[in-house]
Each structure stands twice: as C-alpha cells, then as structure tokens.
C-alpha cells in the first residue's frame, strides 16, 4: 500500500549571491548558516528514509543552467539537482560543492524556476505536498511585475512556501500569541530591528511578508524563520511529522449503547528506526558472521543436545512445567477481538496520573463523517467534563493482542474535542513500597531560613512569564517543542562518518546543547538564591567505604570501576571470610548468632580492640557451654577456632593460651567432659612457638595439654575409643 499522503516534493532554493558571504566579524555568514540549515533538513530526510524527493536550485551563481533560461531571462540561476530522493551525494554537494557566487539574481525569477521545476518533474507522480524552501538574505534587487502572477500560480498549484532569513523579521501581533509555538519567538537571538539592514533588504522583507500573507493569511508570517530559529528548532520543516493510522471501533456502554469511534496514537516514544547490523571488522560484511545457539545439558561435560530434543517449559515457582507451544496456544487467554468497552465511571481524582502505564496515548474521536456518532461522543465528553469524571474501559487492539484496562478522560479544545485513552495497571503490575514520612521526620525538617531560600530559588527559576494584562502565561521552556537530541546527534555522527570515514566522531553540536539548557535569563537570575542555598544547606559527600560499593555504583561510575573490582577480588580470596559479612558493615559487637564471624570482622576491621572483642567472644562461649547442649558445643568450637586463628594473626597467642587453659579448668569443674572430647578430637590446643614466635609452648607441651588426665572419666574415654568420631558422640547424647 503506497502511502502517498506523506510524500512531498521539496525544492531547496538557495541564494548564493554576493551578499550572502558577508558577515559581521565573529559570526558565521548567511551562506554558511543556510548550508547548515539545509544540511540538517536533507540529513533528516536521508536518515528518515521517507519517500520525499528533493531538488536544489541555486541563484546568484556565476553560470546559468535552467529550463527557462533564454536570452537575458532567468540568468544566474542554476538547477543544481533535479527532483529525486535525497542522498549522500546531495549532502556532499551541500557541504563542499556549493560555492558562493559573485552575481546577484532576482529572487522572484528563482521562484519561478522552482515552480516550473516542481510542475514539470512531478508530472505523473503522486505527491501529497509540494513545497519550496527559500534561503536568502534578500539583498539582491528583484522586479515586482510578476509578483501577483506568482502568488496566483502558487495558490493554484498548491505549492507552499517557507522563507529562511539571516535575521528575524518583526511579526505583527507580537510573539506571545503564537499559541503553541512560542519557542519560535527568538529568546536567544537578536530582536527586531536587525542590525545593519539595507534598504533593499527592507523592501525584500515587505515583499516576502506580502507573499506569505496572501498565501496563508496571518499564519503565513509563521513560515518565515531566521536561520538561528531553524537550527534551534529542527522540526520546523513541514513534512517530517509522522501521522497515525486510524483505528476504528465502537465505544460501548452496556450491551445496548455503542458509538462509532476512531482512535489515533497521539503520543508515543519515537525510537531510532534502524538498528545496527553486526558486521565483520575486516570485510565489513554481515554475511561473514554467523550466530549459533546451542543447547547443552547442565552436566560436567556440558553435553550438547539438538534443538529438536528440547521442549518448552515454564517456571511455576520452584517447579518447571513442560508446556509445548501447541498446548500454550490452545490454553492461553483469548481476547474476543477489538474492543473499547466502558466498565464504569469514576471520579477523575481516583485515577491518579501516577498509575498511567503503557507506551502510548490514544485520542478517540467519533467516526469520520458521522454526525450522529459525533453528537453521541460529544455528549459523553461533556457529561464527563461537567461531572469531573472519567471512564474506565477495556481496550483490545485486535484479536491477537492482550486486553488492557485504561482510563478515558475528556479533552476539550477550541478546534476539537475527544477522549484521551491511557492504559492503567493491573493488580500484578503494582508495587507497594513504604517510605518513612518526610513530614514528621525531625532529622530532615528544614528551618524557616532554609525554606525561604528555597522559596526564592523557585521564584528565580520560574520558566513561565505571566502577562498580567492578558492573563496569559507564556512557557519559556516548552519541552514538548524540543526535538529529541538523540536523533540529531545520531544523524550528525552518521553523516560525518559517511563523508569522512577515517575521522573520529565529531563533538555534539553547540546548538543542540544549548537547546537542552535552561533559558539564559533564568540561569542568570538564580545565581544569588543558589549560593544562598549552598551556604544554608550543609551537603557533604559521604566518603564511601570501599566495601559498601554496590554493583550498581560500579556500573554507574566507570572511574571507580578498576579499583573497586580489585578490592572485591582480594576480599574473596581471603578464607573463612565472606564478602557479605563485610558488606553488611554493621557489626559493632560480637552477637550470639554468628559470634565467630562477628569476631573476625571486628578484629580485622579494627572496630574493637582484640582484647575487647575476645572478651565478648569468651562471654558467648561460656554462655553456650552453660546450656550443656551439643549444638552449642559445636558453636563454641567454631568460636574457639576463630579465636585461635585470629590470635595467631594478631600475635595475641598469649591471650588465647590463657583462655584455653582457663577453659580446661572450667570444663573439669562443670563436668563438661563431652565438650572437652570434641576439643581433643578437633585437636584444638595451645598455640605453639612454631606457629607464633611469641609463644613459649613447645609442640610437645601442646600435645600433652590435650592428653587425658590420669583421673579422666573412664566412661567418656571408652566412648571416645569406641566411636572415635564426633558424629557418634552426637548420637550418643
């Protein structure tokens, strides 16, 4: 299906005459600026790959080349390129081939050449729009005789015009009442009257205004742009907008009331259309690369299995349930085709914006050329508007898509009225998190002085200008008029690489960056309030403990990537020591859950002295032993072992040896023979001087320390000999 409605024929008509190269010192010449704007326009066309065709006509050239040229007529006008799909050749031509001329040519003659070109070259082809864009400084003389004929012909053939001039022209009625186009008004650039304008140019301006007024009335003036405006607002070019396809359906209320409607997507995130193809680095061919997916079993050999030997399954919690595509298709939910049915109506305040979901906004109108439907929908729109209510509807795009529940609320404008549909969440999509109240939190309650500083800041950074007389508010930063810089940047890089394959990517263009920044007057005004805030609010960067760096931080900030990664690795290398325990970072004393671990953390992070930590540890060990239960014995053993290891590390062997000796005494007193058997079995003895130089204990002595005393309990010794295994001991108990 050829979509002729978005196809346009565009003639770029550029003045390359003498005066175009003149510029004030430090400024770019109109010639260069015009080239920039044209590049931007053509580049968008090339990368958007739409079907528009573009021609380029230059006037003021040294030579002459056009179909109308005869005798002294239509001189110094060159048709540089005929109507065809724009490509890189055209971009290259604009960048390097077009040279300033030394002649002057009649702008109106050039217009006639352009019109002729459009007429001739669109014959037999379908173009929805025909369009001429003129880039000139208006400094060449022209003859008015044919002005009326030109206007008449433009009207007749439906050719629209846009002018791009080096300076903004004064637009009657001010700039504020442009409705939604207030970015067009030149907040950054010079204001009227432009400096150094000649009589000839003034005459030119009058002529251009006249042409535009007679073509499009008052609105015609909106189509005269300055170069700087055009650069800042790349979407001024008429034909690049995308239109939505209609979706027709019936809005139903109950089973008996339906209204024929048609819906269009009005907002959806525009994405880069083309994706990157992976190519071989040497041959630059994508055929050279093949991707292969293999399946293998989760065994040691990673045995490969063929795709035919695999089936599809789904996780259901911990279970995996085999579920073939066929079964799935048969059993899955089926919606019954397209649908826009009202489920009920509720107060608009109940459907808060924060619940809006999905990736589109639909505008719902009555079906085309159906007055009855229009009246019916209008009743609904006004009923909802007057009651301050909204409709909750079930929406299904077609039988293959899943149903949605969404809200439809009225939107009433001067020119039209409609319902706006936006998806709402299902119960499964909600996440209910709780946050502490900021209001009642004494820690973060701001003082009066702080509050008034913020108050001043908000006033100084206001992005609106109120016109008291007219009661209107002008938006100084209408974000929805700003084109997505991502596209412009991509096109810039692509073009640069196409024309200069060996060079690195260029920096981001300044005009794109400034488009994203707040208006200069706002940045100027807020300096004082901001410095006040700086002094009133203490804001200190937390010196990050390396061990608390989360994965996310690492990924967010590449500068830190190197060192933190290393750090994590070294931590992993350390035995008996889990990274998670470090990461928790909150250990302040030895608790009863993980005493051994806590102890290690404390002494290693030097959060407590060894003496203090070991005291706490010993307390726990004693508590454990008091229970006289095997589980606690095991836990105590862990503690003792940890104590021993760390003691060797920190040369605190004496402390450990004293403890162990005291422990042996205690064991005897409290009849904890079972426990001592475990100690003996695990061979936990005094620290010898082989292990730590500070110790005076010999290996022999250490061995002896564990040897059963003469009066040792015979029973326990017997038990030990019989089993000789801790597990047995455990079972005995």
């Amino acid at each position: 299906m050829a979509r002729s409605w978005d196809k346009a024929a565009v003639v770029l008509c550029m003045d390359v005459g003498l005066a175009m190269s003149n510029s004030f010192p430090g400024e770019e010449s109109p010639f260069e600026l015009a080239k920039k704007v044209m590049t931007m326009f053509v580049q968008r066309q090339v990368f958007a790959e739409n079907k528009d065709e573009v021609a380029l006509v230059l006037f003021g050239t040294d030579g002459t080349k056009n179909a109308l040229a005869a005798g002294d007529q239509y001189q110094n006008i060159t048709v540089h390129r005929h109507l065809m799909r724009p490509d890189f050749d055209l971009l290259e031509d604009i960048e390097s081939k077009i040279q300033p001329g030394s002649q002057q040519a009649d702008l109106l003659d050039a217009l006639i050449v352009c019109m002729d070109l459009i007429q001739e070259e669109t014959l037999g082809k379908k173009f929805e729009k025909r369009h001429i864009e003129v880039f000139t400084d208006l400094s060449s003389p022209f003859s008015r005789d044919q002005l009326d004929i030109i206007i008449h012909n433009l009207k007749k053939s439906g050719i629209s015009l846009q002018f791009f001039l080096p300076f903004p022209i004064g637009k009657q009625g001010g700039t504020g009442d442009r409705g939604d186009g207030s970015l067009l008004s030149d907040h950054h650039g010079p204001s009227f009257p432009p400096k150094g304008i000649t009589e000839q140019q003034k005459e030119g301006i009058q002529m251009v205004k006249k042409v535009m007024m007679s073509l499009e009335g008052e609105d015609g003036l909106e189509e005269i742009y300055s170069f700087s405006e055009a650069l800042r607002q790349l979407c001024v070019f008429k034909k690049t907008e995308r239109r939505s396809m209609p979706w027709s359906c019936q809005l139903t209320i109950g089973s008996n009331l339906s209204i024929k409607i048609v819906a269009y997507k009005s907002i959806t995130q525009e994405k880069v259309k083309k994706c990157w193809t992976v190519v071989d680095a040497r041959t630059l061919k994508k055929e050279a690369i093949q991707k292969e997916t293999v399946y293998c079993l989760n065994d040691d050999d990673e045995t490969e299995v063929s795709k035919e030997d695999t089936i599809q399954g789904f996780r259901y919690g911990s279970d995996i349930i085999p579920f073939s595509k066929v079964d799935e298709e048969q059993m899955k939910y089926k919606s019954e085709g397209k649908c826009f049915s009202v489920l009920g109506f509720c107060r608009s305040s109940q459907v808060h914006m924060k619940y809006f979901m999905g990736n589109q906004v639909l505008k719902v109108f009555a079906a085309k050329d159906d007055e009855a439907a229009a009246v019916a929908l209008s009743s609904l729109i006004h009923a909802l508007d007057e009651l301050d209510m909204v409709a909750v509807v079930r929406y299904v795009y077609n039988e293959k898509t899943n149903p949605q529940v969404g809200v439809a609320f009225p939107l009433i404008k001067d020119a039209y009225e409609c319902l706006v549909y936006i998806q709402l969440p299902f119960m499964e999509d909600l996440r209910q998190y709780m946050f502490p109240s900021l209001k009642n939190n004494r820690k973060c309650t701001p003082t009066e002085a702080q509050l008034s500083a913020v108050d001043a800041l908000i006033d100084s950074m206001s992005l609106v200008q109120k016109d008291e007389e007219e009661g209107t508010i002008e938006d100084l930063f209408p974000t929805s008029k700003i084109p997505n810089p991502q596209f412009q940047r991509l096109f810039q890089c692509l073009l640069h690489r196409a024309l200069h394959p060996q060079e690195p990517l260029p920096p981001i263009q300044q005009h794109i960056l400034s488009m994203l920044d707040p208006p200069t007057e706002v940045t100027a005004k807020c300096q004082v309030p901001l410095s006040k805030i700086k002094t009133l609010f203490p804001l200190t960067e937390v010196i990050k403990k390396k061990n608390q760096v989360t994965g996310q931080d690492i990924f967010q900030d590449n500068h830190e990537e190197g060192p933190t990664c290393k750090k994590l690795k070294t931590e992993e290398e350390e035995a008996h020591f889990s990274v998670s325990s470090l990461a928790e970072g909150s250990v302040t004393c030895v608790g009863s859950v993980n005493p051994a671990e806590n102890f290690r953390v404390l002494v290693r992070q030097k959060k407590a002295t060894f003496e203090e930590a070991s005291h706490q540890l010993i307390n726990h060990i004693e508590q454990f032993l008091d229970t006289n239960e095997t589980l606690y014995f095991m836990k105590s053993m862990d503690c003792i072992k940890a104590f021993r290891e760390e003691a060797i590390q920190f040369s605190e062997e004496q402390r450990f040896n004293n403890f162990l000796k005291a422990l042996r005494e205690k064991v005897e007193v409290k009849q904890l023979n079972h426990f001592w058997e475990i100690v003996v079995h695990d061979g936990v003895t005094l620290i010898t001087k082989d292990e730590a130089p500070g110790s005076s204990v010999t290996t022999e002595e250490a061995k002896k320390f564990l040897a059963p005393k003469e009066n040792a309990n015979a029973d326990s010794a017997a038990a030990f000999e019989e089993g000789g295994d801790v597990d047995d001991l455990l079972e005995l108990i």
Binding site: F88, V279, I289, V593
Partner: protein, 647 residues
C-alpha cells in the same frame, strides 16, 4: 494496514518486552534474593475465633501466607519463603528445640508447598493440624528466633533481604518467665544486628493486643516504618495489606545526583511503583528428562570458522546505498550527553502539566542520604515549597551512562493527598456497586473486597500516597503525532444531561488493584493445572470484561432515551462491522502473487524506490534470489539493495 500495525502493536512486541525485562531484571542481579520466614504462633489461642463465621487467627495467617506464596510465584519466583510454627506439640528443626515445627524451609515457592499450606485451611485444616502437629504447652521465643536465624544461615544463595513475619495474638508470651523474656529480647537484638528484620503481624485478641507488654521492646520498628501500623488486624484484608506492604522490599532503581547547579547537588533514589508484569520467559527443557538445558550463543566467522570476539565485529547501517560503519563503543558513545543524574532547569506551575502528554509510566523520587549527607533536608524543603507554591520542577534526566537525556517533571506529592480528597467528597455509594468489578473469591481463595464496598481504606491509600516527588516523563516534539481530528460537532445540553444520567448510574470507585491481568492469570492457572495434573485448568475470571447485564439493568430505559435524542431513526451505530469481518476473513487467503522481474527490481534499487513495494512482495523477491532477510521491511530492503549492488 501494515503501517498501522507496526506503529500500533504494543502487546506481544518482543523487543519491547525484552527491553522492559532488562530494566526490571537489572536490579535483581545486583541485590540477590529476598527471603522471608512466616513465623506462626500455633498455640491454642490462635485457633479460637470470636465469632462463628469469623476466621480463626491461625486460618487467617495461613490464607495470608498462601496468598503471598501465589503472588511470589507470579511476581518474583526467585525469592525464598519459609513457614515455621511454634507452640506446637511435635517439633521438627535442625537443633531439636522443643515446640518448634519448621513446616517449610527457605526455598522458592512451588506448587507442592502451596498444596501443603492448603491442608491447614479452615475447619479441616484445624483438625489436620491437631492430628499432625498438635498444640504444645510451652515454647521459648528466643529459641524460635534461633531456629529462624539458622534457616537463614543454611541458605546457599546470596540474600539481599531477610525478614521474619511473626503472626500471633498473644501479647505477653513470657509473662511469668522474665528470664525467657529477656533472652527473647536479646535474641531479637542479635537478629537485628545481623540484618534480619522482624515484623509483628499481631492479630485480634480478646481485650486487645497490648504491644507495650512485651513486643514493643522486641520489635523495634525500623526507622523507616514508624507509625505504619499499630493496629491489630481483625480482618483478612487488613492483614493482607499489612503483609503485602512489608513483603516486597523497596528496590531502588538507581541512586542519582540531582544538580541544582554546578555547586549544589543532592542525591535521590528512584523507585518503580508500577511495572508491567509479564509472563515469565519459557525455559528450554531436555525432552528425555525434562531438565532445563543451558543455552550458549556463539558468534563465528563463516569463512574461517573461528569464533569471533566482540572486538572482531563492527556495527553498520546502510542509508541510500551507503554503508556507514562504527565501532560498537561509538554506537554507545553517540548516545551520551550528560553524566547520569538530574539537572534542574527550572519550575513551572503544576497546572501546566498536561495529563494527555503522557509518555511512559512515572517513577518515584525519594531522598537518599547514603551518598550525600543532608540530601533529605534540601529535598524536604524543595518538596514543601513546591507543594505550597503549586509548582513542579522541570529537570533534564539521564538515567544511565550512554543514555540520551529526556525532560521530566518532578511533581510534588503530599502524604495522604488522595485520601483527604476522597474523604472531602465521598463517592455516592449506592447499592452493591458491582459494575462488573465485584470480585468473587479469586483463585487464591481469598474473598477480596469488591471495590467501592470498602470502608474508606485509610491504610491502603496511605501506602499509595507517600511524600516525595513523582517523576513524570515529558514528551519531545518527535514523540507527538499530528492527529487528523474529526470536525467538532457539539451535543446540546439535553443530550449531555441524558448522558450524565447514564454516567451517574454506572459510577464505581476505582482502585488501582481492582483488575487482574487475565492473560497472566490464565497462564498461571494453566501452569497450576499442569503441575497438579488436573484435567482442565480453572478458567480465570476475566475482570476486564464489562458486566453488561448488571449495566443494562442499572441503565434501564436510559439508553433508549439517549439514543432517541442522539441517533436518527434509521441510524445503525453498529454498522460496517460485518463488512470488516469479511475483510479479516479473506485476509488470510490473500497470498502475494506479485512477481517482479529482475529489471524491475534493479530499477527500483537504482532509483531508491524499493521501499514502495509491499513486504510480501519483498519477501517473495528475497526468496527468488535465495536471500535471507529478516522480518522487518528495512531488513528486507537492505538485503535486496546489497544483492543488486554487488551484482
């Protein structure tokens, strides 16, 4: 229609799903798994209900736990759950403590576990409990907590969050034994130190539950939850709400800087409060054993057969016959504008926020002290003043490195804002407002309150209305589309009034959790049926369908009266439908019979008009030359163009 579909199709759009999935899954991998132990008092008092038809506290707890289980299966099946009873006769735990029965250790929720829980439901459940486990006479809470701590430490996975929910209706468990009580307190303190959260889900007790007797010292509310609940739960809904709010841990999407200018910076956390829940992706299984297989993808060079490293490849795009090649890093780099974070642009009146300029679901912004101290105070001051002056902050937002900036509005949100509004103007609650929305027992077996019948749910709205900024995405010029609107035809006041009557008849109270996703519900029901070897899966109740009968009954003669006022006598608002259907039917049988000669194709290629051909025609052409293209038009075009340029 091809164009329309490609713009418009949103469901089942694989690419999109993946993208969203990445975003949602991203934070998972960083933070490990959440683990949650349900600790249920099983002493006799828990099995006594005050009323005949009232659920016993124990039954309520079990149903609530079951609901969390089934929810977890859907929303986050990697999380670990456990159920522990205490005050039992039998005991079952790794350390052989008395009166403690570990019913389920920490593991992913699964079918068998849900079934096991079901056995404890209702009167039969009570009997089952008495037969199998029985009530004990005594227990020590410190031992109970000890067992729980052991459950956590036995888990092999990395855990991000450990929580114990204690369900009981005994406010003074160790009243006569101060030693036990003090041990319990110590143990609870130990748990806190090791990062285990302990929540009290206290249930109704005759004479009221007095937290001051014992639990106030045991459960020291986390700083963040001050004042959330001190009410005991006497209804299942209350308990469910309480549990749900606690059960999901807030996952911060990212922590970012908010720059007022170069010098003044605070940090904020970004949270996702709404996130499209998708069916989990399928898993490949080995046919013989049903065990999951690993998938490995290799990229290799066709000519040499050698494996390719990422550095052996580049990225390319072709425009009008010209191939443009970039390094992979360059394709990332060109998306980079700012460092991640917010840059304040200025302030605008709240009323300038256009509801119909919605771009993508909003996020929630809350101060973050962990990176810059003092952030909360400045944040709080900004919030207070924005609310007072009714303005929003417009910022430039870069979510990640290498992501292009977008404009966002930070809309101040006051605590309980909605709540108050609702209370100021309570909705007319006539009759059993069940405009198709009354939920019967849904599959988890929970009687859920039909929306509109709830006593003003202070608790819930409280949760959903937290103070902070709502982050609203603002569209760029490119995101807006020109819509060819229909001429405005105004209805007259009489017609509007009639419609008003219709609207009033169909009022209900919207709650964001009123609707379940029928697609997901059906999927999980199918899974359940297969897992349990049921013959037929239970059909999910599709809550998104209008309850036409109820509606028709409520509307009565209003519809006919309205139609009479609005529609001409011979007008058929359902017209044209049949015609469309025919179109749809014949669509399938239409096969492309377009065959293009080589000359024609070449001509198209050289003129750059190949794009005029339809996708089927392009596919056919690709087939003719044995070219492998993708499914997208652009891919087909690229393949063909390349082919003819070479030739």
């Amino acid at each position: 229609m091809s164009g329309w579909e490609s713009y418009y199709k949103n469901e089942g759009d694989e690419e999109e799903e993946q993208e969203e999935g990445l975003e949602a899954g991203g934070d998972y991998s960083y933070s490990g798994r959440d683990s949650l132990i349900f600790l249920v008092d099983a002493s006799r008092a828990m099995f006594e209900s005050q009323d005949e038809d009232e659920l016993t506290p124990f039954d309520m707890s079990i149903q609530c736990i079951r609901s969390v289980y089934t929810n977890k299966i859907i929303s986050s099946n990697r999380d670990l759950l456990a159920v522990v009873f205490y005050g039992t006769k039998k005991d079952k735990n790794s350390v052989n403590f008395k009166n403690i029965y570990v019913l389920q250790e920490l593991d992913n929720p699964g079918v068998k576990r849900v079934q096991e829980l079901d056995k404890f439901k209702g009167q039969e459940g009570k009997k089952y409990f008495e037969d199998q486990i029985g009530h004990g006479s005594d227990y020590s809470l410190s031992e109970v907590l000890w067992v729980c701590a052991n459950l956590f430490s036995d888990v092999q996975f990395k855990m991000s969050h450990k929580r114990i929910m204690l369900f009981t209706n005994e406010d003074d468990p160790h009243g006569d034994d101060s030693a036990k009580a003090s041990r319990a307190r110590t143990k609870a303190g130990d748990l806190r130190d090791t990062g285990i959260f302990l929540d009290l889900m206290h249930l109704k007790k005759r004479g009221g539950f007095d937290t001051s007797l014992f639990y106030r010292d045991v459960i020291i509310a986390e700083n963040e939850d001050i004042g959330i609940h001190f009410e005991e739960s006497s209804k299942l809904e209350d308990l469910l709400r309480k549990v749900r709010a606690k059960e999901t841990r807030k996952r911060v999407l990212s922590r970012l800087k908010l720059k007022l200018n170069k010098d003044v910076t605070l940090t904020v956390g970004i949270y996702n409060m709404v996130q499209k829940a998708y069916r989990p992706p399928p898993v490949r299984l080995y046919r013989e054993t049903n065990e999951p297989v690993k998938t490995k993808t290799r990229t290799f060079n066709v000519n040499t057969g050698s494996l390719l490293l990422p550095s052996d490849t580049k990225r390319s795009q072709t425009y009008s016959h010209r191939q443009i090649v970039l390094e992979k890093e360059e394709t990332e780099e060109l998306k980079r504008f700012d460092e991640p974070g917010f840059i304040l642009i200025g302030f605008k009146p709240l009323m300038m926020l256009k509801k119909h300029h919605y771009l993508r679901h909003s996020l929630f912004v809350y101060p973050e002290e962990s990176l810059i101290n003092g952030s909360s105070t400045l944040f709080s001051a900004l919030l207070t003043k924005c609310l007072e002056k009714e303005v929003m902050a417009v910022c430039r937002y870069t979510p990640r490195r290498n992501s292009p900036p977008c404009f966002v509005a930070l809309v101040p949100q006051e605590e309980e804002l909605d709540d108050q509004k609702i209370q100021v103007a309570p909705p007319a609650r006539q009759g059993p407002l069940s405009v198709g929305l009354s939920r019967q027992e849904h599959w988890s077996g929970l009687p859920c309150p039909p929306p509109g019948d709830l006593p003003d749910p202070g608790d819930l709205t409280h949760i959903s209305c937290i103070s902070g900024f709502q982050l609203v995405f603002l569209p760029y010029a490119d995101d807006k589309r020109k819509v060819p609107f229909t001429e405005k035809v105004m209805a007259n006041p009489e017609q509007v009034d009639k419609m008003k009557a219709i609207v009033q008849k169909l009022r209900f109270k919207y709650r964001s959790d009123s609707f379940e996703n029928p697609v997901l519900q059906q999927h999980f029901r199918n899974m359940e049926a297969l897992a349990l070897d049921l013959m037929e899966p239970e059909q999910a109740v599709d809550l998104t369908l209008p309850k036409t009968e109820v509606m028709d009954k409520r509307l009565g003669s209003l519809v006919d009266e309205f139609k009479e006022l609005v529609y001409p006598p011979d007008y058929n608002p359902e017209g044209k439908v049949t015609k469309r259907k025919k179109d749809d039917e014949s669509y399938g049988s239409k096969r492309p019979k377009v065959e293009l000669s080589e000359e024609e194709l070449k001509a198209h290629v050289s003129k750059g008009t190949l794009g005029k051909l339809t996708v089927p025609a392009l596919k056919e052409a690709c087939r003719m030359y044995g070219l492998k293209g993708g499914l997208k038009k652009q891919e087909l075009l690229d393949v063909l163009t390349e082919h003819f340029q070479k030739a």
